[in-house]
């Protein structure tokens, strides 16, 4: 169907400023052909600007954009082999579904019979066959989104850019479409560059993720690595609950560093244990935190009290306050085991060393809230006129 290895995108020291604000501040990203690549970050981090730069709607102030090795700097948007699915779908209100999808083909002067067959094929792929005569105003949000997708896909682009396409849909519809999008991507083999602020969405769908903040790329990794091995405080906090705690590292041996949390000593085996010294943060995911009876002893244990028990149906979340004052979240799957978790119970919180990760002490990101871990979005103070 498509030739081998097309759809590689490379951004080299890409920069874009609006006024005196750098929406994209010198980023380097390499996207492999055929991969589902997400740009993840809070509002204003620069992800949409990056997407628009790749599409050609903005002109970079510095750096290069390479599509399959060719510099796109002088190519206007209508000549790039890149198509966009817009956040607002941007369907042409004066055309029906068929004409919307056929629009790009007609600009290429494709023959009428070929147009008809290609449009029908792609509409079938997005399960909208039979809707050809409808107008956008007569379609639901989910249907409009699928037309927007079909309109872009029918042109066989090397790269498809998606700007928060599921943002306007309700939760259930979003989940269903996430699965559909992923399967379409795998079926067509096109490189997807997907912009979102929803970390769960990025984790579910992507082959690799780039987390962005304030115009910079914080980390690029596959979902598993991104979640379990975050490299900065921002990444750790943006994805899931992070249980960040401020510690002082005074030494390391054999790949395990010694960190002082208040009066307690913790050993962390994850992260750059050999390099980090001084005041920094550690992170542990709530599902790795072990709650043990108060009498329990051993390394990496801190006493504390259960503040709140939150029943989530399939799991139970505990909010625990340590003797040091830090608040920590722990997560338990309801596997039928009886646990004595009442509010006010004194317990020992055990942070297994192999699950405790030490983060670099350098850049303090924009937010890094004090140990009041929340899965909410980090607020980026850098304003961006174009929205993201």
């Amino acid at each position: 169907m498509t030739e081998t290895a097309t759809g590689a995108v490379e951004l080299v020291e890409l920069r874009k400023t609006f006024g005196d604000v750098a929406a994209v501040d010198g980023i380097d990203v390499e996207i492999r052909p055929g991969e589902f690549f997400s740009l993840l970050g809070p509002s204003g981090c620069g992800k949409t600007t990056t997407l628009r730069l790749i599409a050609g709607f903005e002109r970079p102030d510095g750096g290069r954009i390479l599509l399959d090795g060719v510099d796109m700097v002088a190519t206007p948007p209508h000549r790039r082999k890149v198509n966009t699915v817009f956040q607002s779908y941007a369907l042409f209100p004066h055309l029906d579904v068929f004409d919307n999808v056929a629009f790009g083909l007609r600009r290429q002067r494709v023959k009428k019979t070929e147009i008809r067959s290609r449009v029908e094929t792609v509409l079938r792929a997005v399960r909208l066959d039979g809707y050809e005569q409808r107008r956008p105003a007569q379609l639901s949000g989910g249907q409009q989104q699928r037309v927007a997708l079909a309109r872009a896909l029918v042109l066989n682009p090397s790269v498809l850019l998606l700007d928060e396409p599921l943002g306007a849909l309700d939760a259930k519809l979003r989940k269903a479409l996430q699965i559909e999008l992923k399967s379409i991507q795998e079926q067509f083999g096109i490189t997807f560059v997907y912009v979102t602020h929803d970390q769960e969405e990025a984790l579910t769908m992507s082959d690799r993720i780039a987390v962005m903040s304030g115009g910079h790329v914080e980390q690029i990794a596959a979902p598993t690595e991104m979640y379990e091995e975050p490299r900065t405080v921002f990444v750790a906090d943006f994805l899931g609950i992070s249980n960040l705690m401020t510690v002082t590292v005074d030494g390391a041996e054999g790949g395990v560093c010694r960190a002082r949390l208040g009066d307690f000593i913790l050993r962390a085996a994850q992260g750059e244990t050999a390099e980090v010294r001084g005041e920094t943060r550690v992170v542990i995911r709530p599902e790795r935190v072990r709650i043990e009876p108060y009498e329990s002893t051993g390394d990496n244990r801190v006493p504390g009290m259960i503040e709140r028990v939150v029943y989530l149906g399939s799991s139970e979340q505990l909010v625990v306050r340590l003797a040091t004052g830090d608040v920590v979240h722990a997560l338990f799957v309801n596997d039928g085991t009886l646990r004595d978790f009442a509010q006010g119970t004194a317990v020992q919180i055990h942070f297994p060393a192999e699950a405790l990760r030490v983060l670099p002490s350098t850049r303090t990101p924009a937010t890094a809230p004090e140990p009041e871990p929340s899965p909410a979005l980090a607020v980026d103070p850098v304003p961006s006129p174009s929205g993201h």
């Binding site: 002109r59 002088a74 190519t75 206007p76």
Partner: protein, 295 residues
């Protein structure tokens, strides 16, 4: 040469051609008026040949300047008189109509709304003719200032309604409902809450009526009687093809200045009160504000 062509065919969609046309249009649109204003300061009697700078047509010339020529000055006075009367009558009528139309729930609203819209799409000559005929035949109102005012108010009301209504719709019912909730009567809520909020729109409509009245020609001309009821536009119309002096330009310039000042004032007042009110908007503060008022 390639640089020039690249500048012209910029792929990032900043079409130079359109920019050139737009600025060209602005020049073509405004420069002739500027030249006419310039010639009002002409030292000689010509309206087309520059003979030096002078203020003689404004107040210098003892016979023909705007200040001293009785027909010129009279035209200016008549224009201002009509404008004042138009403002004072049309705005209250229009505000009431806007209030009524926006809040009216019932069968009468649609036809009244339709009636209000009609003057906006009727050509002036149709309106002028109909007013002339009704004054002469049925109402037996003599032509002159009274007739002119009646005519001007008739087409001004609809503009007031348009300006005030849009503001009313954006204010919404929330403030009055808060006031009623706190014990005010319907009239009290109107007086204490809605009217203050409407002030910028009322002021804006005053200025709009002023500008409309000052610039009006057809209706005012048809309903005029003799030279004493001539306004500035009428004076320009009757004098422009003849051998008049730049005093005509001076008269027109004074009028333009008055209009621009009025419109500019309306704009700034509207903006300022708007931003003040928006800084304090929100139903919470609305309740707070109202509670602070003496009921």
């Amino acid at each position: 040469m390639r640089r020039a062509r690249d500048w012209w065919a910029n792929p990032w969609g900043q079409p130079r051609f359109l920019a050139v046309v737009t600025w060209g249009y602005m020049v073509w649109s405004i420069v002739p008026v500027g030249i006419a204003v310039l010639f009002s300061f002409n030292d000689g009697r010509s309206r087309s040949v520059w003979q030096g700078f002078s203020m003689r047509w404004y107040w210098g010339d003892p016979n023909l300047s705007v200040l001293h020529d009785p027909s010129m000055r009279g035209a200016l006075e008549q224009s201002l008189k009509l404008a004042a009367l138009d403002m004072v009558i049309a705005v209250p009528l229009g505000v009431g109509l806007a209030l009524g139309l926006t809040r009216w729930v019932g069968y009468g609203a649609r036809p009244v709304n339709f009636l209000m819209l009609f003057p906006l799409v009727t050509p002036e000559i149709v309106m002028a003719v109909s007013l002339l005929l009704i004054f002469v035949t049925l109402y037996k109102i003599p032509l002159g200032t009274t007739a002119q005012v009646l005519g001007q108010v008739t087409f001004s009301i609809s503009y007031v309604v348009v300006v005030v209504r849009s503001r009313l719709l954006s204010i919404g019912k929330q403030y009055e409902e808060a006031a009623r909730d706190l014990g005010a009567s319907a009239l009290g809520a109107l007086r204490l809450v809605l009217m203050p909020l409407l002030t910028p729109a009322i002021f804006a409509s005053l200025m709009v009526v002023f500008a409309l009245s000052i610039d009006d020609f057809v209706v005012t001309d048809y309903l005029s009687s003799n030279e004493s009821t001539q306004t500035v536009p009428i004076k320009i119309y009757s004098g422009v093809r003849g051998t008049t002096t730049p005093a005509l330009n001076a008269l027109a310039t004074v009028m333009v200045l008055a209009t621009l000042v009025a419109v500019g004032l309306a704009f700034f007042v509207y903006r300022r009160v708007n931003s003040l009110q928006r800084a304090e908007s929100g139903t919470g503060t609305a309740l707070h504000e109202i509670a602070a008022l003496e009921m």
